[in-house]
Amino acid sequence: MAGSGKAHLRNGDDILLQVEDLHMEFPAGGGRTVFAVSGISFDIARGETLGLVGESGCGKSTTGKAVLQLPPPTRGAVKLDGEDLTSLDPKSMRKKRTGIQMIFQDPISSLNPRRAVGEVVAEPLAVWGPKDQDQQWSKVAEMLDAVGIDPDVARYKYPHEFSGGQCQRISIARALVMEPELIICDEPVSALDVSVQAQILNLLEDLKVKYGLTLVFIAHDLAVVKNISDRVAVMYLGKMCELSGSDELYENPAHPYTALLLDSLPVPDPTVDLHTEVAVEGELPSPLAPPSGCRFRTRCDRVQDLCAQQEPQMRRINDAHYVACHFPLVDADEVEVAIA
């Protein structure tokens, strides 16, 4: 992985969001640059859920925020319904953002502690919605009800009076009041207990059907991502490794990094072998000086000379399964076909 290329992009009318060759770089002082995202391309069809997985620091959150132009990407295009968001002036972008909402990781700190829940959820409407208070409240009440919070009880309560799971429901209600087409969920369940996590995942699935939502679901837990996603993109150090339908990806991981992530998952079954000493040592290299060629090569157990010299490009290995690796974990004849 650690690859670029656009072989995996689709054409068609039902594509809601298309991100092409997205680069995000930040100055790091001393003339250095953090290469947070380096050439990511993906697309999402209407009504689809795309999972973005990877370790902390792989650029998955930065990618999610770049879609919202927060901040605008260094290079690359972000097309929503065919319209390139990077070319919009700030005023039109602000208007456009109402259709893309975000849910954050920490449900407690993403709600203003000094505002009552009724106000927190109504705030987007106060800016863009009807000016009439009653109309605003009826919309807010509808959304709170939809996420399983009793609107009349919650209206004048403050975020600290709710548990983490309930705060996350409130954040979801706030994202929903603008009736967005696309919601970017940035690790929405990683701060929650497994029992609450299941509630929130089920809730997102139900809301998706009810309101016809398209979701980008960012997380580091592969089991969670598989559960909710139609397609999954694996990221590593600002690059994309692998992209596939979720069932296919988990059954036949082709990228060594995907396989590593899957092997690291704790399995709730004591009879499963823990692969006690597999090649999971090592950490993410610094994005200030990413390795040449394939960015994963420093931790990869299949590394060859080629990996340092040439960056692998995304290529198709079957139907809708794409991988950016010189030596993917697929049958030898399949590789030959793919290389040919």
Binding site: E55, S56, D145, A146, V147, G148, I149, D150, S163, G164, G165, Q166, R169, D193, V194, S195, V196, Q197, A198, Q199, L201, N202, L203, E205, D206, L207, K210, H220, D221, L222, A223, V224, K226, N227, I228, S229, D230, S246, D247, Y250, L260, L261, L262, D263, S264, L265, P266, V267, P268, D269, P270, T271, V272, L274, T276, E277, V280, E281, E283, L284
Partner: protein, 372 residues
């Protein structure tokens, strides 16, 4: 580290002996609203060299339990009663000054958040050797050597230069390794790991859990692994205690527990974990609601308000821990999972449209669920 463990401490001895015997331990906190019964009558016995997994949601009392066993709950509003016998000695009632002899030397703890459990303005070398300098008469340079050795034992690359780092110069995984090294510094006999990997990535989590397992084996340590994720303890504990509302509701050797769990809460925790061998969009069977208020807990079984199997009796009469058929397996439930009564109760609740039961069957729309 091996040389240190032989010079300063005897090996923890043979398995089979009870190192830690906890009986009817209660930790209550006095707050303006009343008495929070965070731990309310917990008993367990832990043999030398074994690992006990303590599992439960936030607020189930698992962290307070491990802190109470270690004698770390010292605030004036805390009331700890019951008995904690460590190596033949009663720990409950010992003053913090007296407990200092045990902290680090006999028992040590790895905390959840490696970002906040290290002092940000002190170099890790000094934090690493604080215990050693406290308990043993060692010079600065000796302490430094011990520190380097400790960092090496937790597999931190280039320990000679890393020892002069500040915590912010390290990644989360590295910092957790440092926290483990600090806990191991005086070769404790019992290691408490309180959600040691919750704040970390899966790959790093795997590394840290492996590290803990290796260190435990090499040092013959006894370990208490506290977590909310049954997946974390499944392959890494000898015994599991599931806590709910300050009590143990089910306890069994790990293999026995997974082969036949009897408590609906244990089953609920396991079922709510998404699994990679299920196809995507598999509906998760959720436990509705949240843990009870520990000041005024519900009458009867404390899990009954969330339980898919609950019947009238469960709301009135609190079940006590009873022995199951398998050796060492105990559970506290009137209608244990896997019995004909529980199937009938589930069916009855399902027909009555009880939301808790519908959710467990994956039939409740989350948008229709109203949380209190």
């Amino acid at each position: 580290m091996t040389d240190m463990s032989t010079t300063t401490r005897d090996h923890a001895g043979e398995a089979g002996q009870a190192l830690l015997v906890v009986e009817d331990l209660k930790t209550h906190f006095e707050v303006p609203a009343g008495m929070v019964k965070a731990v309310d009558g917990v008993s367990f016995t832990l043999e030398k060299g074994k690992t006990l997994g303590v599992v439960g949601e936030s607020g189930s009392g698992k962290t307070v339990l491990s802190r109470s066993v270690m004698g770390l709950n010292v605030a004036p509003n805390t009331h700890t009663t019951g008995s904690v016998i460590y190596d033949g000695e009663q720990m409950v009632g010992k003053t913090p000054k007296k407990m200092k002899e045990y902290w680090g030397e006999e028992m040590a703890m790895v905390f959840q958040d490696p970002m906040t459990s290290l002092n940000p303005v002190v170099k890790i070398g000094r934090q690493l050797t604080e215990h050693v300098r406290q308990h043993h008469n060692v010079s600065k340079s000796e302490a430094r050597d011990i520190g380097i050795e400790l960092l090496r034992s937790v597999r931190i690359p280039e320990p000679e230069s890393r020892i002069d780092n500040y915590p912010h110069e390290m990644s989360g995984g590295m910092r957790q390794r440092v926290c483990i090294a600090i806990a191991l510094a005086c070769s404790p006999k019992v290691l408490f790991a309180d959600e040691p990997t919750t704040a970390l990535d899966v790959t790093v989590q795997h590394q840290i859990l492996n590290l803990l397992a290796t260190q435990q084996r090499e040092r013959h340590m006894t370990m208490i692994l506290v977590t909310h994720d049954l997946g974390v303890v499944a392959g890494r504990s000898d015994e599991i205690a599931v806590m709910y509302a300050g009590r143990i509701v089910e306890k069994a050797p790990t293999a026995t527990l997974f082969a036949g769990m009897r408590h609906p809460y244990t089953q609920g925790l396991l079922n709510s974990i998404p699994k990679t061998d299920q196809p995507s969009h598999t509906r998760l069977s959720a436990i509705v609601g949240r843990p009870p208020d520990l000041i005024n807990p519900p009458a009867g079984c404390k899990f009954a308000p969330r339980c898919p199997y609950a019947q009238e009796r469960c709301h009135e009469e609190e079940p006590q821990l009873v022995n199951a058929v398998a050796v060492g397996h105990q559970f506290a439930c009137h209608i244990p999972v896997g019995s004909p009564e529980s199937d009938a109760a589930f069916q009855r609740n399902l027909e009555a449209g009880r939301p808790q039961t519908l959710a467990a069957a994956g039939r409740l729309l989350a948008t229709e669920e109203l949380v209190d």
